[in-house]
C-alpha cells in the first residue's frame, strides 16, 4: 500500500516547481492572552468557561475596555481570530447592567446574519439570561416581526433592511430607538465605493432618528485587513473611532506560493489556462485527503472546476466529498456544506468569493486561488481560509494572463509589503446624498438649521430647497415636510451603481419568462442592443428586443459561433476644472466632466477566426453622465512623428494600462473607473486621456488618482516595463503590438515622461 503523503512533503515538492515565481513564508505566532476583565459579569465568565474559553485574546480585551470607556471601536482581525467576542462581550455585558438595553447588528448579507444568530443564541443559552436576539430580514414572517420590534434585545439585520424597512417605519420601532446602546457593524471593509457611500448615509439617518428618540449608541465595527480601517470607520460613522489591532490569536506557519502557468505562445505572451493548472494543483492535495478550498472568480468557473476535479480524481469516496459553494445555492444546501466542512466530511470545496466573508467553515489546510481576486484585502481573506490555529498551511495563487494578475505577479512586494488597499467612500456624492436626504425627510421633517450628522446645515438647506422646488418637500413654519405620495426608500437601492437598471428577461421558455439579470444603462448601450449576443453564465443569448423606455431587454438562448462588438462613440466635455498641475509640457487636471455616449453600430465577429461577418446599426438615444474625471493633456509636439491613427493606438494602450493599474491602486472594481483617449480633445484640441468615475456625481476615485498621479504613473511604468512581451500584449497594453511594435515603446515613453519630472 502506498503511504499517504503529508502536507509538508507536498509543500517540499511544490517548492521545486519551476513555475513558482515567488515563495513567501509567514512564521507562526503564539497566542497572546489576558485574563477576563474584573468587572465582567460572573455569569458571562461562567458561560465562556463552559465553552472552553478561559482567557481573552489581547484584542478582545482591548475592544471590551474601549467600549467600556464609551468609545467607538473598529477591530481589525484576520479570519478565525474570535472577532465575534469583540462585540458580543460588550453587548451582553451591557445587557446585564441594563436589561432594557438594545443593540442593532448589521451584517452585509443575510447568510452571515443567520450564522451570528446561532452563535449568539448558543452563548446566551449557557447564561440562562432572558436576552432575546432575532434576525430581521425579508424572510422574517409577519407575525414574528411584531415581536422583534417590541422585544428584541438584539436585532440582527442588513443595511438594506435598515434602509427600506426599519428607518422609514421607525414609529413601529420606538422601543428599539429609545434604548439603542450599541450598533455593531461587521465586515466593515465591504462598505466601500458606491455601496459604502450609501450605507454611510443610512448611518446618518439612523443617528438622526436615535437623536430624535434620545439615544446615542456606540458603534463597534470589525474589519478585515485594509490599509485605513480607522479612517473608513470614521468616515462611515461620522465620529471618532478607536482602532483595535493588537491581534492576539495564535497562528500556524503559512506558505504563500505564486504560481505562474507556463507560456504556451511566446510572441503573444499567452499562458496555459489558469483553470487547468488550478485543477492539477488542487487534485494533488485532494488525492491525499488534505482539506482544500479552491476560489474561482465566477459562478460558472466554480461549476467547471468542480466537474473537472471530480473527473481527475478516481477515488469514489473523495470524489463525493468535493462540493461547490456559490450564490444561487439554496440556504439549506449551503448550511449543509458549511457543516460538513467543519466536521471534515467534505474534503474539498470550490467557491466564489461567497466564502470570503465570515461564514464559519472551520479552517482548511490548503487554499488555491484561481487568479488574483482583485484586491489585496480579499486575497488575504481568501488566504485566511487556510491555516488551522497551530498547523502549517499553504496558499497557492495561480495567475491568469490578465494584466491585473500579471502585474501582481511581477510585483510580489506590492502584495506582501503590508499595505493592502485603502477603502474609500464619498458619502457627499450629490446623487447619493440627495437620495438619502429625501429618505431622511420622509422619516422626520427637517428643522431649519438642522445638520445631517456631519453635513453642515447650510448644505442641507440648499438640498432641501432644491427638493422643495421639485415639489417633494414643503416648507412650513421653519420645517421641511415630506409632501409626496412616494415611498422614497423603495426607489433607492444601496447596491446598484446606476440609478436605473435594464432588466434582462429570458423568454426562451414561452410559458414562463424569467428575469436572469440586470445591467446599468450605460453598459446596456453596447451589450444589450437589439441583436446583441449576450453571455449569461457562459450561455449565449440573443437580444430580441430592447425596450429602452421600460428598461427591459428580452433575450432568448441561442447557439451561434460569433459574438457582437458595439462601437460606442464617447464624447467628453470638461465642465469645470477644480485642480491642475503641470508635468513638463503635459497638464494633469481634475474636475467635473460630462460624458456623452452613443452606441452607433455593432459588428458580428466569428469566435474562432475573429473575422467580421456582418454588422448593423444601433438606434438608441444618447446617454449623459455627469461625473468627476481626471485629464492628462499631452503637448502636440510630443507625437510629431506619429500619424493620427497611431496616436490613437498609443493612447488606447496607455488607457488600458492606466485603467488597470489605477483600479488596483484605489481598490475599486475595474468597472468603476473608465479610461477614454481622445486624439483631439474638444476643449483644448490636444491628445488627451480621461479617467473618470463611472457613476453619476463621481465617488472620489478620479480625485484620488489625481492626488497620487505620480505614484500611479510610476506603478504603470514599472508594470509595462516588466511585462515580458515585446511590442505590447493583452496583459499590459491590451492590444497585441502591430508589426513595427511601436505601441509599447510609446506607452513607456509617455509614462516615463510623466514620471521623471516628478522625481526632480
Amino acid at each position: 500500500m502506498i503511504r499517504k503523503k503529508v502536507l509538508s512533503e507536498l509543500i517540499g515538492e511544490l517548492k521545486q516547481d519551476p513555475q513558482i515565481e515567488h515563495w513567501h513564508e509567514i512564521p507562526e505566532m503564539e497566542a497572546k492572552s489576558t485574563s477576563f476583565p474584573e468587572n465582567l459579569d460572573p455569569k458571562i465568565i461562567k458561560a465562556l468557561q463552559h465553552r472552553g474559553i478561559n482567557s481573552l485574546y489581547t484584542h478582545q480585551r482591548s475592544a471590551y475596555e474601549a467600549v467600556k470607556r464609551k468609545e467607538n471601536v473598529v477591530a481589525v482581525t484576520p479570519t478565525a481570530s474570535g472577532k465575534t467576542l469583540c462585540y458580543n462581550l460588550p453587548v451582553i455585558d451591557k445587557f446585564f447592567q441594563n436589561s432594557n438595553a438594545r443593540a442593532l447588528y448589521l451584517f452585509p448579507t443575510k447568510a452571515l446574519a443567520q450564522d451570528q444568530k446561532t452563535e449568539l443564541n448558543d452563548l446566551v443559552d449557557e447564561m440562562e439570561a432572558d436576552l432575546k436576539s432575532y434576525t430581521y430580514d425579508g424572510d422574517t414572517p409577519a407575525n414574528i416581526r411584531q415581536v422583534v420590534r417590541k422585544a428584541g434585545h438584539i436585532v440582527i439585520t442588513n443595511p438594506d433592511m435598515l434602509h427600506s424597512a426599519i428607518l422609514p417605519h421607525h414609529t413601529k420601532w420606538i422601543s428599539l430607538f429609545e434604548n439603542l446602546e450599541t450598533v455593531v457593524i461587521d465586515e466593515l471593509h465591504t462598505y466601500r465605493g458606491v455601496f459604502g457611500s450609501h450605507v454611510a448615509n443610512v448611518i446618518r439617518r439612523l443617528k438622526r432618528l436615535c437623536n430624535y428618540y434620545g439615544s446615542n449608541p456606540a458603534f463597534i465595527c470589525t474589519s478585515a485587513t485594509i490599509q485605513n480601517p480607522k479612517e473608513l470607520a470614521e468616515d462611515l460613522l461620522g465620529e471618532k473611532v478607536t482602532l483595535i489591532d493588537n491581534n492576539g490569536a495564535p497562528r500556524g506557519k503559512k506558505h504563500i506560493a505564486f504560481y505562474n502557468p507556463p507560456i504556451v505562445h511566446q510572441q503573444l505572451n499567452i499562458r496555459k489556462s489558469a483553470t487547468k493548472v488550478v485543477n492539477e494543483l488542487a487534485s494533488r492535495f485532494l488525492r491525499e485527503k488534505i482539506q482544500t478550498i479552491v476560489f474561482a472568480r465566477s459562478r460558472v468557473r466554480v461549476e467547471i472546476i468542480l466537474s473537472h476535479l471530480q473527473e481527475l480524481i478516481k477515488d469514489e469516496y473523495i470524489k463525493r466529498s468535493i462540493r461547490g459553494y456559490r450564490g444561487g445555492y439554496l440556504p439549506n444546501q449551503r448550511r449543509d456544506i458549511e457543516r460538513s466542512l467543519r466536521n471534515g466530511e467534505t474534503i474539498g470545496v470550490v467557491s466564489t468569493n461567497a466564502l470570503e466573508l465570515g461564514v464559519d467553515i472551520g479552517q482548511l489546510q490548503v487554499c488555491v486561488m484561481s487568479g488574483y481576486p482583485g484586491s489585496i484585502a480579499s486575497s488575504w481573506q481568501q488566504a485566511g481560509r487556510a491555516g488551522r490555529r497551530q498547523d502549517e498551511s499553504l496558499v497557492i495563487m495561480v495567475a491568469s494572463s490578465t494584466p491585473l494578475d500579471q502585474y501582481v505577479f511581477s510585483h510580489p512586494e506590492f502584495f506582501f509589503s503590508g499595505s493592502p488597499e485603502s477603502a474609500r467612500i464619498n458619502k457627499d456624492n450629490l446623487i447619493i446624498l440627495s437620495d438619502h436626504i429625501k429618505c431622511a425627510a420622509y422619516e422626520l421633517p427637517f428643522r431649519k438649521g438642522e445638520s445631517f450628522d456631519d453635513l453642515g446645515a447650510e448644505e442641507v438647506e440648499e438640498l432641501l430647497d432644491y427638493l422643495t422646488e421639485m415639489r417633494v418637500l414643503h416648507q412650513r413654519a421653519e420645517k421641511w415636510y415630506w409632501m409626496n405620495d412616494a415611498f422614497p426608500a423603495h426607489n433607492i437601492s444601496l447596491r446598484s451603481a446606476a440609478q436605473e437598471n435594464v432588466v434582462i428577461i429570458d423568454q426562451s421558455d414561452v410559458a414562463s419568462h424569467k428575469v436572469i439579470g440586470e445591467m446599468n444603462t450605460f453598459s446596456a448601450l453596447t451589450l444589450l442592443h437589439d441583436e446583441a449576443i449576450y453571455l449569461h453564465e457562459g450561455i449565449q443569448h440573443q437580444v430580441e428586443y430592447l425596450d429602452w423606455d421600460e428598461k427591459k431587454a428580452f433575450v432568448r438562448k441561442v447557439d451561434v459561433d460569433y459574438f457582437t462588438d458595439a462601437n460606442l462613440a464617447v464624447k467628453l466635455t470638461v465642465l469645470e476644472i477644480d485642480k491642475e498641475k503641470e508635468v513638463k509640457d503635459a497638464v494633469i487636471q481634475y474636475g467635473d466632466v460630462m460624458v456623452t455616449a452613443m452606441a452607433t453600430i455593432f459588428k458580428k465577429i466569428k469566435l474562432d477566426s475573429f473575422e467580421n461577418i456582418g454588422s448593423g446599426p444601433i438606434h438608441l438615444p444618447e446617454q449623459e453622465l455627469h461625473t468627476n474625471g481626471m485629464m492628462i493633456e499631452f503637448a502636440d509636439h510630443m507625437f510629431q512623428e506619429l500619424g493620427e491613427d497611431e496616436v490613437e493606438q498609443v493612447l488606447l494602450g496607455l488607457a488600458h494600462t492606466l485603467q488597470h493599474v489605477a483600479s488596483v491602486h484605489v481598490m475599486c472594481d475595474k468597472q468603476d473607473i473608465h479610461a477614454v483617449p481622445e486624439v483631439k480633445s474638444v476643449h483644448a484640441e490636444l491628445p488627451t486621456l480621461y479617467l473618470y468615475d463611472k457613476y453619476p456625481g463621481g465617488i472620489g476615485l478620479a480625485e484620488r488618482i489625481y492626488a497620487q498621479s505620480s505614484i500611479v504613473m510610476e506603478k504603470a511604468l514599472h508594470f509595462v516595463w516588466n511585462c515580458p512581451c515585446e511590442g505590447g500584449c493583452p496583459s499590459c497594453t491590451g492590444i497585441p503590438g502591430s508589426e513595427d511594435r511601436k505601441e509599447k515603446a510609446w506607452v513607456l515613453k509617455l509614462l516615463s515622461y510623466l514620471t521623471e519630472e516628478e522625481n526632480l
Binding site: P168, H169, H170, T171, K172, I174, L430, I431, S434, A441, Y442, E443, L444, P445, E459, E462, L463, D465, Y466, E469, M470, R471, H474, R476, A477, K479, Y481, W482, M483, N484, D485, A486, F487, P488, A489, H490, L575, E576, D592, M594, E624, H626, P696, G697
Partner: protein, 398 residues
C-alpha cells in the same frame, strides 16, 4: 457651481417648476364655503365639519342597529361583528392620506367618522390645514374619541389605524394617549360574503353592487394625495371638495354596510342569498357555533335553486359535530346514491361504517363509490389507503 445647479444638470429632463406664489386669502371663508369651521384646541386652530343627516321614516338606521345590539346581547360567542356597547359608541371611521405606504412620511389629512344618534347620522370630518398643524388636527379627533368607542372601518386594521398610531407616535409628547378601542373591520366580513361574487371587494365596488349606490362625477380617490399637495401650495381647499364629499359618503356607507353584513351574519334576514347563508354558516363554524351554522346551512339549502353535494356534505359534517349522527348519516347516504358522488362525503361515510357501525362491507362500498368520482389527488390517496386497510381487515376477520 452651486449644489442646486449641479443637481439640475445631473438630472436632465427635470425642469425647475415655476414658483407658485401662495396667495394669503382669508382661510376661514374658503373653509366655511366647504362647511368647515375653525375649532380651537389649546390655542391651535384646526378645521372640522359636523353635519347631521336626519333619518327618514322608512330608513331609521338607529332602529336597525338597536335591533342588532339586542341580538348580539344573546350571543355567547363573540362574533367578530358583534358589539356590546351603546349604538352611539360605534365610530364608523375612515381617513384620507398623502400616500399608500404606511411609513413615517405618509400623513393623514382627513379623518372622518359617523355616529348614529337618536335623530340621525352625525358625520364629523377633521381637515389638516398644513403639516405643521398636525397636533391640533389629531387633538381634535382625540377629543371626540374614547376608550368606550368601537371603530368600524373598511381595511382599517391594516391601513388606517396603524397610520393613526404612527402619526400619534410622532406627537405623543403633545397629545393624550391613544385609547385602546375595539375595532371591527368590515373588509374581512365583505370578503367572507362576496369574495366569489364580486370582481373585487373594494369599497366602491361593494357600494355599487350591494348598497346600490351609484356615484356621478366622482373624484377618484387615487387623486387625493396630489390634490392635497396642490392645496398645500395654493392654500385653496376648494379643489378638494370632491374628495371631502366622497369621504363623507364613505363613512355613511360604512353604517349601512355594517347593518347589511351584520344582519346577514346574525339574523336570518330576507335579503340574504343562499351563497351568503353558506358564508355565514362557515363563519359560525369557525367560531365553533354549530347550531347557528346549521340554521344557515338549512336556509341555504332551501333558497338554493339547485342542490349541491358539497353543501350537503358540509351540513352532514356540521350535524356530526353536534352528535346528530342519524341525521348526518341520512344525508351522506343520500349522497352515495347521487349521480356524481362526493368523494370526501364518501370518506366520511366509510369512517362511520368502519368505526361506528363496524360494517366493513358497507364501508368498502362507500370507499369504492368515492373512488369513482373526480376528486383531488389528496382525497384519492386517502380513499385508497382506507380501501386497502378495510380489505386487509376483511381478510383477517375471514
Amino acid at each position: 457651481m452651486s449644489l442646486k445647479k449641479k443637481l439640475l444638470r445631473m438630472k436632465p429632463g427635470v425642469k425647475e417648476e415655476e414658483k407658485t406664489i401662495p396667495q394669503e386669502p382669508e382661510d376661514v371663508d374658503k373653509f366655511k364655503e366647504l362647511g368647515f369651521y375653525p375649532f380651537y384646541l389649546d390655542g391651535d386652530i384646526s378645521y372640522r365639519r359636523k353635519v347631521l343627516y336626519p333619518f327618514t321614516e322608512e330608513n331609521n338606521l338607529k332602529a336597525s342597529l338597536e335591533k342588532l345590539k339586542n341580538i348580539w346581547k344573546m350571543d355567547e360567542a363573540a362574533h367578530p361583528l358583534h358589539f356590546s356597547k351603546e349604538v352611539g359608541n360605534l365610530l364608523f371611521f375612515d381617513t384620507e392620506t398623502t400616500g399608500l405606504s404606511t411609513g413615517a412620511g405618509t400623513m393623514i389629512f382627513l379623518i372622518g367618522y359617523a355616529r348614529v344618534l337618536e335623530e340621525g347620522i352625525e358625520v364629523t370630518q377633521h381637515f389638516l390645514t398644513g403639516p405643521e398643524q398636525e397636533a391640533a388636527f389629531m387633538g381634535g379627533f382625540l377629543d371626540d374619541f374614547s376608550e368606550e368607542d368601537i371603530i368600524v372601518s373598511y381595511n382599517g386594521k391594516s391601513f388606517d389605524w396603524p397610520q393613526v398610531k404612527s402619526r400619534h407616535a410622532f406627537l405623543r409628547r403633545e397629545l393624550p394617549k391613544l385609547p385602546e378601542a375595539g375595532h371591527i373591520d368590515l373588509l374581512h366580513a365583505a370578503r367572507r360574503f362576496w369574495k366569489n361574487e364580486l370582481p373585487s371587494c373594494r369599497l366602491a365596488v361593494v357600494e355599487e353592487h350591494k348598497l346600490l349606490i351609484k356615484r356621478h362625477n366622482d373624484t377618484p380617490g387615487s387623486l387625493a394625495p396630489l390634490l392635497y399637495f396642490d392645496y398645500v401650495h395654493s392654500k385653496d381647499p376648494f379643489p378638494l371638495k370632491g374628495i371631502i364629499d366622497h369621504h363623507e359618503q364613505d363613512v355613511i356607507s360604512l353604517v349601512r354596510l355594517y347593518i347589511l353584513l351584520a344582519e346577514k351574519a346574525c339574523t336570518y334576514a330576507e335579503h340574504t342569498s343562499a351563497a351568503e347563508h353558506e358564508a355565514a354558516a362557515h363563519w359560525w363554524e369557525s367560531l365553533k357555533q354549530w347550531e347557528r351554522a346549521e340554521h344557515h346551512w338549512r336556509l341555504a339549502d332551501k333558497l338554493a335553486d339547485k342542490p349541491s353535494s358539497q353543501r350537503l356534505y358540509r351540513m352532514a359534517l356540521n350535524l356530526r359535530k353536534q352528535n346528530k349522527v342519524v341525521k348526518a348519516i341520512t344525508i351522506l347516504e343520500s349522497l352515495q346514491a347521487a349521480k356524481y358522488p362526493h368523494a370526501e362525503a364518501m370518506e366520511e361515510l366509510a369512517k362511520y361504517y368502519e368505526n361506528t357501525e363496524k360494517n366493513l362491507d358497507k364501508a368498502l362500498k362507500a370507499v369504492e363509490t368515492g373512488l369513482t368520482s373526480a376528486a383531488p389527488e389528496k382525497t384519492v390517496l386517502k380513499l385508497r389507503k382506507r380501501r386497502d386497510r378495510i380489505r386487509t381487515k376483511k381478510e383477517k376477520t375471514r
